[in-house]
Symmetry: C2
Subunit: 361 residues, 2 copies
């Protein structure tokens, strides 16, 4: 992580000083009211009080900026941290100091949040260890920092809603989203075939090539799918994953086998899902929704969750579950990350991460 | 069944003649092509050939005229009898003659169809016994003649889609439909509460009183429901039953508890079901469909089916599952029944039955 020896020295000297119990200077993003993120979010200095016996101090390393973070700042997400709040559901950090009563974490451990809303957009945070989950150090930071949202969402949607066997087919729209890319990679690993639907664009061939390189079997634009809906050579999916809504969702549904399932986990078109009555009655289609935040809460200590985390980190370690194309910004450039994430699917096509690795205070 | 001694005599003399193996004169409705029922359906005389050893002759008594019969004649229903075809999914008849090899049925048994499409709109029919199910004689003819569609649909929808306990709440639109009335009565018997939504009309108070007399706990018009959607005193249903679609379905959905289920079994508004993305993701709503024809086919010899038929006939015998308000027409007046059933929810508000009890040929 610290490839620059100078930085490593600084880091060691910081740890040495902080473990002596001095207050720690830190920076965080904060909002005092809900509203447009660019208006309500600002940087703030803070002094971390000395540790309690059952606390740890975490130096954040990188945090992904997710649409859910934006919606939470706007006040339109069902998770409502009390105000003023530090944004940020996800991220990865390193434990740099532990209280004398802490048993399950050590200095140097790498951790991610293990609670509904930790507030990760900060250089340093003082947390109770039961809000954190230790993760392996030999997994890429970019990958592991976002593991609890998109990779977990992709994993559960492929596993929980219809029983799939190798060779079975899954169709998804928004296939180039961060989650969509994870769906392709996990499905590939499990021997499932994917039909991936994306919006048309100038460099569509490049995108098709990229999604196929991740393991996608078919990639079609929305218009291309419409043209082949009744084509008998189009394999019939047992599962559809919808993060768009509107006509796009209706078209996914039309491709399904009888007794197929469509799972909605996003609504980028801002249009409702429209279902013809006949799909319910005569095709016996089931419609479900998936919200990873609820699943994590309801399954916090479950075997399924441990199995999932192990399998996902293993895939990341093996290079089979890559982070989406992305850009790092420093904390002071957070507004660029906000702006990008607020636009539908990200105008740049890149996922933004705030990178704290070079911040010293 | 035959309260008139004269009719009984005629009947006995007919049986006596038919059991001697003479050909039997009968009448049936028939259509040679799909289309508007009033245009394509006509009465036809036929001569039933003498019985094979493994056949029975059934004299039909009464048959309900269902929307599914109309849609099948129109060619827009997924069940497609080969043409020319006799319409009619349901009905009740009496076995008047049996072949020498028939073991499970006797002359005098009362029977209903036990197959996807028997073609019941006929005075007499010659059938294989495995297409028939024997039913008790002490249950009202009107009730038992329609048992396999609406009562079974209501029963399965209340049982199979969300686990309900006494005191739990169910909401339904089209509550005054034949199926809706069955839902009210079965729910009442099981200790479930019902919120019943109907379209506004001149005699709305009369309808409300009637549905409450069947056991409905609440009856609201569509407009009244809209006004109380956010009223915290409105009990939160775990199950919604939708036979309308469009805005009506969306409003049902809005009343559901988290993890609630909406089952669609009809689309009288001819508008698709529209679901906001947030209902899937944050309320974890599940949408399903129910088609009784499929269920009957998939569960023909199941214990669940036997249990259901026993429980429903018991309710009918006890007067707790009444047929909807109805009108009988003779076979020659079949066009009145077709016209009424073709109009949405029946212009007359009555369910039509063809009554063969007075027909002698």
């Amino acid at each position: 992580m610290f490839h620059n020896p100078l930085k490593l020295c600084t880091y060691i000297s910081f740890v040495a000083s902080s473990t002596r119990g001095f207050s720690k200077q830190a920076q965080k993003l904060v909002y005092h009211e809900h509203g447009t993120p660019l208006r309500v979010v600002s940087i703030q200095n803070e002094t971390l009080d000395p540790l309690d016996t059952n606390e740890v101090i975490v130096k954040m390393l990188i945090v992904p900026v997710n649409p859910a973070d934006i919606n939470t700042i706007q006040g339109v997400y069902p998770v409502k941290p009390s105000l003023p709040a530090v944004p940020g559901f996800e991220g990865v950090g390193e434990v740099i100091e532990i209280g004398s009563g802490v048993k399950d974490l050590s200095v140097g451990d790498r951790v991610i949040p293990d609670t509904q809303h930790l507030g990760t957009w900060r250089t340093y945070g003082k947390f109770s260890p039961d809000l954190l989950m230790k993760v392996p150090k030999d997994v890429g930071l970019t990958e592991i920092s976002g593991i609890t949202s998109n990779p977990c969402t992709a994993y559960r949607m492929l596993k929980d809603y219809n029983q799939l066997s190798p060779g079975d087919v899954v169709i998804q729209n928004g296939a180039n989203s961060a989650c969509g890319q994870n769906v392709i990679q996990i499905a590939k690993h499990w021997g499932l075939k994917t039909i991936n639907i994306v919006r048309n664009r100038d460099d569509i061939d490049k995108l098709k090539t990229y999604l196929k390189s991740l393991g996608g079997d078919f990639v079609f634009t929305e218009e291309e799918l419409k043209g082949i809906l009744r084509d008998p050579s189009l394999p019939k999916p047992k599962l559809a994953l919808n993060c768009v809504g509107g006509n796009s969702a209706t078209n996914l549904l039309r491709t399904l086998v009888n007794k197929g399932v469509m799972v909605t986990y996003g609504g980028m078109s801002r249009e409702p899902v429209q279902i013809p009555t006949s799909a319910f009655i005569f095709k016996d289609i089931t419609l479900r929704g998936h919200w990873m935040t609820r699943w994590q809460k309801e399954n916090k200590n479950s075997t399924e969750r441990k199995t999932m985390m192990n399998e996902l980190t293993e895939l990341m370690r093996a290079g089979k579950l890559a982070a989406p194309a992305h850009k790092f910004v420093t904390l002071t450039n957070f507004q660029e990350a906000l702006m990008n994430t607020m636009s539908i699917q990200g105008k740049s096509g890149l996922k933004y991460y705030i990178d704290f690795r070079q911040s010293e205070s």
